[in-house]
């Protein structure tokens, strides 16, 4: 199952110009499935970077605008799009000029595969 999903994520990586990696992790940043190209910044793949999203989304949900779903962080040479699919988190890392709208539209294509993974994370002690 995970191999099929990884293949599918690699296929999605090729479809979006400038997209370097797609990671599916749990709330703490522990990677479950990852599709990575050699251009992805190694530091951004570490759990201590990815897990900061958990705190950020919790704080963003307190702004009175409803529950936070997505955070887009633009850096000088990278962009990071993180989606809350609790108990899972999807992280996309791309170049700064990568098509953000195209990355956001991948959500609906990945979503059907998350149900099985959610069960795995929910069952973990």
């Amino acid at each position: 199952m995970v191999d099929d999903l990884r293949k599918y994520l690699n296929h999605l990586l090729e479809k979006v110009n400038g997209l370097h990696c797609i990671l599916i992790t749990d709330r703490d940043g522990v990677p479950l499935v990852r599709a990575v190209t050699e251009r992805a910044p190694p530091l951004a793949l570490r759990p201590n970077f990815i897990s900061t999203f958990g705190m950020a989304t919790d704080q963003a949900s307190k702004l009175g605008l409803g529950r936070n779903k997505t955070i887009i962080s633009m850096y000088s040479s990278y962009q990071v799009v993180q989606m809350s699919k609790l108990p899972l988190v999807i992280t996309f890392i791309g170049s700064d000029n990568c098509n953000t709208g195209h990355i956001l539209s991948l959500e609906s294509q990945i979503e059907p595969f998350l149900k099985d993974l959610e069960v795995v994370v929910a069952d973990a002690p």
Binding site: N97, T100, G101, H102, S105, S108
Partner: protein, 90 residues
């Protein structure tokens, strides 16, 4: 701020057989949309126009026409802005 853009979108929507209109920025984020055009399709519309530009990189961006039995979608890039018009076929 976006009044001028809204005016343009209204003008396009008033044309015969037009049932949707979308304007997107180079990042694939929607600036304006009306009618049948869905906000989420902005990224894909910009990606289609980017790919079409690669066919003849030295020429001005081409107009892409996606056609089905009943509908038509015209995609055109102008500078950094990409526009899409959804039309019903007569």
């Amino acid at each position: 701020m976006e009044n001028d853009l809204d005016k343009v979108v209204e003008e396009i929507m008033s044309m015969p057989n037009v049932n949707g209109c979308l304007i997107a920025d180079p990042q694939g984020l929607c600036l304006a949309s009306k009618g049948a055009a869905h906000v989420d399709s902005a990224g894909i519309i910009v990606a289609i126009s980017e790919q079409a530009c690669k066919i003849q990189p030295n020429m001005k961006p081409p107009t892409v026409c996606l056609e089905t039995d009943k509908k038509q979608c015209l995609i055109q890039r102008h500078g950094t802005i990409t526009g899409a018009i959804f039309k019903l076929k007569t």
